[in-house]
């Protein structure tokens, strides 16, 4: 069997982390290629449903990242986001979603190296955890079989 390659989705803000990831590239820092980056105007825009949808579509891990506190382009988007993450993460934990598979981080436009590190550690961690079959089994359910009672 081929070695498991984790699929990671990264939801990042346009102003800090996306620019940071750009810097990682222009600085020629090598990092794992397992990540698909989705750019948002702000972490405040990252709806919790998107995280669930990423798992539905087969993501094994998720990175959510934006500006450091006090650095938000829109002043407070990341503070609002932080509150939501705190609560949403608790709820996910309560319903048994593996919260080890969701990594939250602050990566600024200057932290190219940190971005590489965030991605690399996430990939390593997800590699250890293996594919998220638990969720995918449920997500494939409609296609997999007919319900009968």
């Amino acid at each position: 069997m081929a070695e498991f390659e984790p699929k990671i989705v990264a939801f990042v803000c346009n102003w800090c982390t996306y620019a940071g990831a750009d810097l990682t590239g222009t600085s020629r820092i090598k990092y794992a290629s397992n990540v698909r980056i989705i750019r948002f105007p702000c972490t405040g825009r990252i709806d919790y449903m998107l995280l669930l949808k990423a798992f539905d579509e087969g993501a094994d891990g998720i990175i959510v990242s934006g500006c450091h506190p006090n650095d938000c382009h829109y002043t407070s988007g990341n503070f609002h986001a932080r509150r939501r993450w705190i609560m949403f993460r608790e709820l996910c934990d309560f319903v048994g979603i593996d919260i080890n598979r969701v990594l939250f981080s602050w990566v600024s436009a200057a932290e190219g190296a940190k971005w590489a590190d965030v991605v690399n550690t996430t990939v390593t961690k997800i590699r250890e955890l293996g594919p998220y079959t638990e969720y995918q089994e449920v997500a494939k359910y409609p296609v997999r079989e007919v319900t009968n009672g």
Partner: protein, 266 residues
């Protein structure tokens, strides 16, 4: 009860309100909502320990609102819902008068919603012991066990949305679950559709749920969905010192503190 009927009659006769929302004897040993519009019907109003249905769910209903000014029989959970609804601009002193019922079953009339707010703040929102025990039991499980627990518990859900309909806070004309562009949540009842629906419901009630159990009581299949809300109430307490419905000011999820604490962001 006599006091309630008397007051309701006065209010209707003097045309201070057009409708009094209260409880009446239902079929079997059930109780149900009653909308009194004629003073002579006040004798149907009752109040006893069976009256746990959260009547606040009706004050946002178009047909009821259209009747004019409403008076509502309100126990503490109902009052909490009302204050929260007022915060969200769904009701106001203009169209609602609260006929409060104290924990000792005494009538307590409020001049305005501000008085209601002051009154309910005397009582903490407390999760009762039996539910706390259930929450603790779930917290002690492993993540995989909890996952299995919820997938199994939610499996019977056929998405009748009684939980949503019974919840005073679920007054949206078009709920996220009904949106299909994009189709956030699968329409059919199956493991994924049920899970996502209940997660969504719980998230949208963070900081708004006042722990009245209307959702769980309404569920024809007795799925303990209120556990999700209760856990989030506990979490709100743990992280942000809890909340109470308020008429004005900063609301749990529409505000933040620069020094909100967490230990998971890198």
């Amino acid at each position: 009860m006599d006091e309630l009927r008397k007051r309701a009659k006065e209010l209707l006769e003097s045309k201070k309100v057009s409708v009094v929302i209260g409880y009446e004897e239902g079929t079997g040993d059930r109780i149900r909502a009653l909308f009194v519009e004629k003073p002579e019907d006040v004798s149907r109003l009752i109040f006893d320990s069976r009256c746990v249905l959260n009547l606040a769910t009706y004050i946002t209903k178009h047909e009821v609102k259209a009747k004019g000014k409403m008076a509502i029989t309100a126990t503490i959970p109902v009052m909490r819902s009302i204050v929260q609804l007022a915060y969200e601009f769904q009701v106001s002193d203009k169209n609602l008068l609260v006929l409060g019922i104290t924990p000792e079953s005494n009538l307590m009339e409020f001049k305005d919603l501000l008085e209601v707010e002051t009154y309910i703040h005397k009582f903490e929102i407390e999760i009762n012991a039996s539910y706390r025990e259930k929450l603790d039991k779930l917290a002690a499980m492993t993540q995989a066990e909890r996952w299995r627990f919820w997938i199994d518990e939610l499996a019977p859900c056929f998405k009748c949305y009684a939980c949503r309909a019974a919840c005073p806070m679920c007054y949206c004309h078009r709920c996220t679950v009904d949106f299909n562009q994009p189709q956030w949540i699968p329409v059919p009842s199956h493991e994924l559709g049920n899970l996502e629906w209940h997660i969504m419901r719980a998230v949208h009630l963070i900081g708004r749920c006042i722990d009245c159990d209307a959702c769980a009581n309404a569920c024809p299949l007795a799925i303990p969905i209120n556990l999700l809300n209760k856990r989030l109430l506990e979490d709100a307490k743990k992280h942000f010192g809890g909340y109470q419905p308020i008429l004005k000011g900063d609301h749990l999820m529409s505000t933040f503190k620069p020094d909100d604490k967490e230990n998971f962001i890198r």
